[in-house]
Subunit: 421 residues, 2 copies
């Protein structure tokens, strides 16, 4: 990267409602991620209120430090919204009607069967020094300035409007304006192994990575993402170099890898089930419907999700799911014997290839010495075989539900691909 001048960016989030904690600023984090992907270095993020002194000072400070200033918010049509008049004042220019912008706002309202008000009409008036950037999903246009050796972009604070402007206009425009390094990213998504164990398994490989490929560990609930970032001049070469490295590391951690880049565990499960033409059904006790929710949150899941039963009490585990009363009495609901029966019965009931079951003590109450809060059994029944696993989780109910779901989905994944040993 040494041959490139580092391009520095600052992000300004504008709005009293952010400072008072009424709305969380999710925009700045998202913009950081997008800039990082194209090799622009974010050096500062600032949140300020709808206030002239703060805003003018923030413009001047950012200009001193950054090549690019991206700002969100303060673009509404009311008097509280100061971004547009203050940018005009800061760059010493007038505000004028932009006919193209007026046309866009008019069309926006027409499509929704609403009348254009005078207030809306004002949104088509823009500082003369800016380039008008159409906002197809809202009424406040984007504004791009190239002033004082700095590039400025003002965007609405509504997240989906900002994201569309960033994706369609800002990112391509920044790439065109600045000599950025070529960057290639690939994320390996793993499940079922902790960060430090994973690091141990791949330390030799990690230590021998070429200098232009960086590795980051990004852990989340029960999962770890490995992000490989390669810098250079040629996209194809970088892609090839990263793929070579992935081929090298894959055999070491193969059973933990469920996908790449943006694919979620639920999506991977769906892809695998569709490929294998198999179907799943669930008997959820302690996870209370959460695993079913994850599976059915994926479009098209009706192709492989048969259904689920949540028998929250022993009575229904017996009456509806036909788990032996004897088994429930002797071993208890939270036992290997019970989840085996639950998974086998649900598989039969819903005519599925895989039957998944969970039973445990989610907490915060209900545990005892032998089975403390956080004790969970999961099982997967398939043709000719049923496998089980005991989890010892935490004191936190919601966390236990989430970790049970990740473990059960991973068990299902390993059963589908036949890697249960």
């Amino acid at each position: 990267m040494t041959k490139y001048k580092e391009i520095k960016a600052e992000i300004l989030a504008i709005g009293d409602e952010l400072l008072y904690g009424q709305i969380a600023d999710t925009n700045s984090h998202w913009i950081s991620q997008e800039l990082d992907k194209i090799g622009v270095r974010v050096i500062r993020r600032t949140t300020i209120g709808d206030n002239k002194t703060s805003m003018m000072a923030a413009f001047a400070d950012a200009e001193k430090r950054a090549d690019i200033v991206l700002m969100t918010g303060g673009l509404g049509p009311t008097n509280d919204d100061l971004t547009k008049p203050l940018l005009a004042e800061y760059f010493n220019c007038d505000i004028q009607l932009v006919p193209e912008a007026l046309e866009a706002v008019r069309t926006f309202f027409e499509k929704r069967g609403r009348e254009l008000t005078d207030l809306n009409r004002l949104q088509a008036h823009l500082p003369t020094k800016c380039t008008y950037v159409p906002n197809e999903v809202g009424t406040a246009p984007g504004m791009w300035f190239e002033e004082n050796d700095t590039v400025w972009m003002s965007m609405p604070g509504v997240p989906h409007e900002m994201k569309k402007l960033m994706t369609d206009f800002v990112i391509p425009k920044i790439k065109e304006t600045f000599p950025l390094p070529i960057i290639y990213h690939k994320v390996i998504k793993t499940v079922g192994i902790g960060e430090s164990w994973l690091a141990d398994l791949i330390s030799d490989w990690e230590n021998n990575l070429p200098e232009n490929i960086k590795l980051a560990y990004l852990p989340s609930l029960g999962q770890v993402k490995l992000r490989l970032t390669a810098f250079g001049d040629d996209y194809d070469e970088l892609q090839a170099a990263v793929e070579t490295q992935i081929d090298k590391v894959k055999p070491k951690i193969d059973k933990y890898i469920f996908g790449y880049n943006k694919e979620t565990l639920e999506e991977a499960i769906g892809r695998l089930l569709k490929q294998a033409d198999k179907k799943v059904a669930l008997a959820e006790s302690c996870s209370g419907g959460f695993i079913s929710h994850l599976i059915t949150s994926i479009p098209g899941s009706s192709k492989y999700f048969q259904g689920a039963l949540i028998p929250y009490h022993n009575e229904f585990k017996n009456k509806i799911l036909h788990v032996d009363l004897e088994t429930l009495k002797i071993f208890g609901a939270v036992s290997e014997q019970t989840v085996i029966q639950m998974s086998e019965q649900i598989r039969k009931k819903f005519d599925a290839d895989f039957g998944i079951a969970s039973s445990g003590i989610a907490g915060p109450d209900g545990g005892w010495a032998e089975k403390p809060v956080g004790t969970v059994w999961i099982a997967c029944a398939m043709e000719g075989k049923t496998i089980t696993k005991k989890l010892q989780l935490t004191q936190d109910r919601l966390l236990n539900i989430q970790l049970t779901a990740v473990a059960a989905l991973n068990m299902l994944r390993l059963c589908i691909i036949g890697k249960t040993e």
Copy 2:
């Protein structure tokens, strides 16, 4: 509020991982909310990297503007973590071992059966000008400074450690240090009515609120919170004034109010079911387990949640839930007739007082002219009566699932309290 000097605060979040978008800064938003509650005005939030120039400049800038500077991050024991040495340099003092802090770190490790390393030992060395603030849930102590007419607090970036320090020490200490107005907050939580309709219903009341009581609308998915904030000198008087206003507005919006302050809709449902000694069961089709998940995420829900069935296909709606094949054929799965049968059958199957059912087209595919994506039917069966509702939701699958859940929970709530007309 005019008789109080406004106390201004700035929040600094420190860490390269924030600027690169690897971790979202949720701390600053949470701190904003806590300061807002006690009447401290947040005037700016800044995120900077682990970098001497940026940090020293941020300290100096914040000092010029604010009475209070709260910072998170940069407190780890490694070389990247600069907050402690830079604060010592900024305040021109040494760093020394604090025996009490060493004892705390030692105890922290002992409890977890781990050895104290030299690196951990360094965490007990602190700038001589700071007040040591014990961190009971982590290894990096908090540091409180009163320097240059400003109050400074440095906290770890790990959210639960920061929250504990804020709650146990920082908020009480700020209240003790500054002459803040007395503030009383109460939040009215509503469901089943949009923000603008709600505003119409209560506009007379809103316009006649006393000057020291402010109202904020905080909308979220299918719900609107009304936050009343009263400022003054006497807590009891403020509380009485707010309660008087709530008594006035309540009759206008009674059926939409499900709770106050932090109570969630799921918690309110649990409270109401326990009070009435009633039980619920669910037949979820398009909501795919999400309503059951919300209900079972509440500790103690096994007292009133009997269980659920998710029959994702007509075959199982008939075979397992005993919905007439005829009904499914003539009216379809997404119909009033089908959800009526689903709710009544699930109520019977699980021996519940209330049977809730959902069936709809979550999308993004599967709709047609007569029943477009976003068409959802919900029902609640109870002793002697079954009520239904048709929803026309969005094109977004996850949003449709969430909105169905809110509508179904609200329907259940109205049935429990007998306000179904």
